[in-house]
Symmetry: C2
Subunit: 103 residues, 2 copies
């Protein structure tokens, strides 16, 4: 499995529409086992996205999906910066298995 | 929802047994929507745990669960340090919903 933990900083007041666009555009991505968008309660303009993919190739392929491209196009004008970006190798856990079963 | 992203550093060579203990002890926690354990590919002794809970109270209550306490007891002797610990407010995403449906 391949995982990403990433922080994104958004233009003031743009967090809600960007989160909506991301949630909308990431519902049905082949090989995606988990894709969670969270606010940073300590930074009103930041979000964290945590992702788990069956493989790094699945993540790479997702970037070409029309729904994700549309979400990125909506979000991009409001992104002011990228913070930490951590690649991980997920080994297992709860939520993942459930996502796998329903995929 | 309440989220945690945390890094843990383990004694050399102890990553596999600690991950096994954590995965074993976190299978059925009330209010847990996602609990994923990942290796840090850039640090052979580190793991990342990402968690999503229905509420912060559910997370707090989980610490008293016998299965989690047993996992912590197995892991603790091998934990050499805690790195970053980020609290988040998850808003939604894929995997979460699936976990919710099967809980």
């Amino acid at each position: 499995m391949y995982g990403l933990i990433g922080k994104m900083t958004l233009a003031s007041g743009q967090r809600t529409p960007v989160v909506s666009a991301l949630l909308e555009g990431t519902r049905a991505m082949p090989g995606c086992l988990s894709y969670i968008v969270a606010e940073d309660p300590s930074d009103g303009d930041a979000i964290w996205v945590t992702e788990v993919w069956a493989s790094q190739a699945d993540h790479q392929a997702s970037l070409a999906l029309p729904a994700l491209q549309a979400a990125i196009a909506k979000a991009r004008p409001h992104i002011t910066g990228f913070g930490q970006r951590i690649e991980t190798t997920p080994l297992g856990g709860y939520g993942l298995a459930a996502a796998g079963r329903t995929a």
